[in-house]
Symmetry: C2
Subunit: 187 residues, 2 copies
DNA sequence: CGAAAATACGAGTTAGAGCTCGTGTTTCTC
DNA sequence: GAGAAACACGAGCTCTAACTCGTATTTTCG
């Protein structure tokens, strides 16, 4: 079942959600279409499970990477470095992530499937922002968090598509973007 | 034929590329499926023609809005205002635009169809950037332009989805993002 | 006006996707 | 070791979307 999700993630990374057929996922997982549907009710359910697995992995990543550091008191550029670094690694290692997360116009069914993932991330970022800038109005915090997430979402496909020096340069650009945007608010 | 493209754009705005059927487009245009295929070879061809129409409209928009002003010498924040304003208007008026332009993982066929649109925009932004900062290395200019376009692409769906005060606030955020990113480079 | 060319039509074809279900195979229990 | 329960199988069902093609209609022009 983990195996199925892993294969589905690979296929998603290559072709996108609509282009991947359930029969293809089954074949690549080495099982029959019938067996696939004993683990998942339908295609959307696969995406949903995958989104949850990604959410869990991101949560793990967070605790592993930032357990010691006191994020709210870190200088902004170090904070940004500490967050974007593992995030880029995660996106490189999980190509399917952006297929579920980075699309602005998912089919309505999928919107529901990935909503928890979005909500979890938004919650984390809002918490971090309000810890750093306690005076901010809640709606400003939420809007700032939404925009910051959106900026990362937008840059990640570029970063993943590039490699070598160009990728490193684009990671630098992502950090510059975040710094330029967040510095006036929570700097 | 313009009629078909207009209808197709509306349908795209509502449902996205894959979800819109050619028969639906034909029906909404008041013609039969057979007639549709006398104007366009296939579904991709419709998207291609629509992308070209958008490219032309954007070119018009540009000349109309900035004909008098001397963009390279304007202060950066005024430049950003002058560009983002009409761009937001355009996106609000043409909901189908983002369905073709803002998606990171278009099907390969569509990638070709919208490539000219991307190229045209990239060309315009690179020209503007190098006019403002003549000393920059070409690859830096191109990377900066790519990132700037990507930032606008990312923010536009948020802006279009919001309305009233929230939309205005998000436009402000877009401008803040662009300013924060571009100021160190071409400020 | 009438014939021919061009255009419009829409039911039908084809292909592929999601999904099912009767059958075969393995695994459990006594 | 035998019966039962759970699981796995994959050919095939169904539905939908892109696209076609023989026919009907309109337009063009001598």
């Amino acid at each position: 079942m983990e195996q199925i999700l892993t294969v589905a993630a690979e296929a998603l990374a290559e072709s996108g959600y609509e282009a991947v057929s359930t029969n293809t996922i089954a074949a690549r997982a080495g099982i029959s279409p019938g067996s696939l549907y004993q683990f998942f009710a339908n295609k959307e359910d696969i995406a949903h499970a995958l989104a949850e697995r990604y959410a869990a992995q991101l949560a793990e990543l967070r605790t592993a990477a930032f357990d010691g550091a006191d994020l709210p008191t870190l200088p902004l550029d170090q904070l940004i470095d500490a967050i974007t670094g593992p995030l880029v690694e995660f996106n490189l290692a999980n190509g399917g992530f952006k297929a579920l997360f980075a699309r602005p116009d998912l089919p309505p069914s999928l919107t529901d499937a990935v909503a928890p993932l979005h909500a979890a991330l938004l919650g984390r970022v809002t918490a971090l922002l309000s810890a750093r800038a306690p005076g901010l109005a809640p709606e400003v915090v939420e809007r700032t968090a939404t925009v910051a997430i959106q900026l990362v979402r937008a840059m990640m496909p570029l970063i993943v598509a590039a490699d070598g020096a160009e990728r490193a340069a684009l990671v630098g650009e992502l950090r510059a973007v975040l710094h330029g945007y967040l510095e006036p608010v929570v700097g």
